[in-house]
């Protein structure tokens, strides 16, 4: 198993009920598989997860990106700064 942290922002933070959590998944899993796990654990995310943006280690990532031990994953809605 590999593990790391996941951060939530904005409406996804509110849906998750926390700004940060731990993840653990089998070696070789990608971001999409992690999100499926997460949704099972946090059903409130379901409404937002499909349109969420993804980052791994503070860079934008795709669902296909394979996770490494210690990765910092982030999940957030489309940005609205300015």
């Amino acid at each position: 198993m590999i593990s790391g942290r996941i951060k939530f922002f904005s409406v996804l933070r509110e849906a998750a009920g926390c700004s940060e959590s731990e993840w653990e998944i089998k070696e070789g899993a990608n971001v999409e598989e992690l999100l499926a796990h997460l949704q099972a654990k946090m059903p409130n995310l379901a409404k937002w997860i499909d349109s969420a943006w993804l980052a791994v280690n503070r860079r934008y990532a795709t669902p296909e990106q394979v996770l490494q031990d210690g990765d910092e994953v982030a999940l957030f809605p489309p940005v609205s700064g300015g």
């Binding site: 922002f9 943006w53 957030f76 489309p78 940005v79 609205s80 300015g82």
Partner: protein
């Protein structure tokens, strides 16, 4: 005073202060942009905005925007500071300052900076208006990581 050129800040910000961060003898012009909390939005009377950011990702992306600008226009230096936290109508949420030897290109660069910020920088705002609150959502397409 912070000398950081790319910053997510919890403190009030001003055009003067951010412009001073990039002033130098090489700069014959400084073009600045300030984003201000507007008192109405989509027919709603805004009470205040609550900004949130992912600073560890946002600050490098602000620096990247500056690199994109320097590749396209002859500018000396760029500073971009975005304030987070609760902000009242009339307060300054973001300041962009572009220093260049001459004014040519600096205006365009400033416009590019704010457009790009709204596209890629992980900052969000929740609007608190009379009668409710709503998270504001930006562009539909997630950008690709430019470092790949």
């Amino acid at each position: 005073m912070s000398r950081k050129l790319f910053e997510i800040s919890n403190e009030p910000i001003s055009v003067d202060e951010v412009s001073r961060r990039i002033s130098s003898p090489a700069a014959g012009a400084i073009v600045s942009f300030a984003g201000i909390v507007r008192g109405n939005n989509a027919g709603r009377r805004v009470r205040y905005l609550e900004y949130e950011a992912y600073p560890e990702m946002a600050e490098p992306l602000l620096a990247q925007i500056a690199e994109e600008i320097k590749a396209r226009w002859p500018v000396e230096e760029v500073a971009i500071v975005h304030r987070v936290g609760r902000q009242k109508v009339g307060e300054t949420s973001v300041v962009i300052a572009i220093a260049s030897a001459h004014r040519l290109g600096a205006f365009e660069a400033g416009r590019y900076a704010i457009d790009r910020l709204k596209e890629i920088v992980p900052v969000w705002k929740k609007e608190h208006f009379e009668g409710g609150e709503v998270w504001i959502e930006g562009p539909e397409e997630q950008p690709e990581s430019p470092f790949d």
